[in-house]
Symmetry: C2
Subunit: 237 residues, 2 copies
Amino acid sequence: MTTRRSRPGRPRHVPDSGTTSPRDQILDAASRLFVSQGFAATSTREIADMVGIRQASLYYHFAGKDEILGELLRRSVRPTTDKVEKILNRVPPLDFETALYLLVLVDVRTLADVPHNVGMLYQLPDVAKCEVYDEFRNEHAELAAHYADLASEVASKTVRATVSRKQLGDLLIQQVEGVINMRTEDPDRRIPCREAWAIAATCLRICDVPQEKIDAAAPIAIDLLPQFIDDKVVEPA
Amino acid sequence: MTTRRSRPGRPRHVPDSGTTSPRDQILDAASRLFVSQGFAATSTREIADMVGIRQASLYYHFAGKDEILGELLRRSVRPTTDKVEKILNRVPPLDFETALYLLVLVDVRTLADVPHNVGMLYQLPDVAKCEVYDEFRNEHAELAAHYADLASEVASKTVRATVSRKQLGDLLIQQVEGVINMRTEDPDRRIPCREAWAIAATCLRICDVPQEKIDAAAPIAIDLLPQFIDDKVVEPA
């Protein structure tokens, strides 16, 4: 289920400066530092040093640390949110079970593939105090609302009677964001397909979707998934 | 659902030094500082200053910052783990659905009541680097194993065939620990009974427990819950 393939014999721990834009190199170094030592404790000088550029060059690409953080936070949510419309267009009409299953798979992939487990940034208290965090919070709420919308389409009467629409969306996003905690626990952790499918099925079960509907939705969603994955590094034919 | 009641006319933001032990005052100040500014960035001097004692007095109670952190981490997990046996003894024999429902309610209360959302400490990267974190990780794994044990007793054949025992435990604990994220998002957040019940029912649904069994388990578990709650401040009769 890995999408980024490095060329044989070239294990990469730092981005390859030959192919990665300076902007991406800065984002990569910053996320590494923010996640390991916190946002407040990291200076733009340290970020520049890690990339091997001058601080002035960093300011050519970003207005400051906040802007870097904002961009990083967006990268853990926006790739999923941006695909919601496409998901709804590709699944069979009114098949909200498949749409929800596919949304979960896409979101798991976003969280699993974002470098340095950037998703964990929004659990850091010093990040939550930043102004850019408020913008991000809105993006995150937008994604939670998409979950809530799909979930309330597929949820049983009992679930709709006992769990508010908002809480239902939050329960699902909480389950998917388990991927962040898995990666925090073990930085080399991969999320195999089997585990991703289990998370998606779990989200449908939370809505009390009967097993036969999960069994119908899963293969369609799994089949559609490759259309939603951006392979940044494409293997030569 | 609030258990700690301050006496009328005495809203407390800091622990009342008249009734709280120095040890608890240190823990309270430390958790407040660790959560707001990180573990690495907090000194024992700052903790002592916040309590209003000398640094030397702090060292009378704790060997150092690590020991304080260890104690705090334990307080977000141990109170639940310690009750597992009692839970199994109080619910009707072999009624694992009720046991699981009750375990979730107890755990939600532990996470909801622990001061300053201490549960979020174990998501902080600078905490994960500490030696005491390893001990805590074992305690957390012990709790996850209890979830896995109960879950695999109640899970449907399909769930057991498609989700590993370990992942099932992790899915449940992930759902319950949503309480930590709720409190991070909004520090004044309370978890009303309705929401706690929804989390417990969700955990049973994740195991594919049929609705009629959830409906049977819920009232028994809700009825037993008060026996598992330590009211630290008891209202005068």
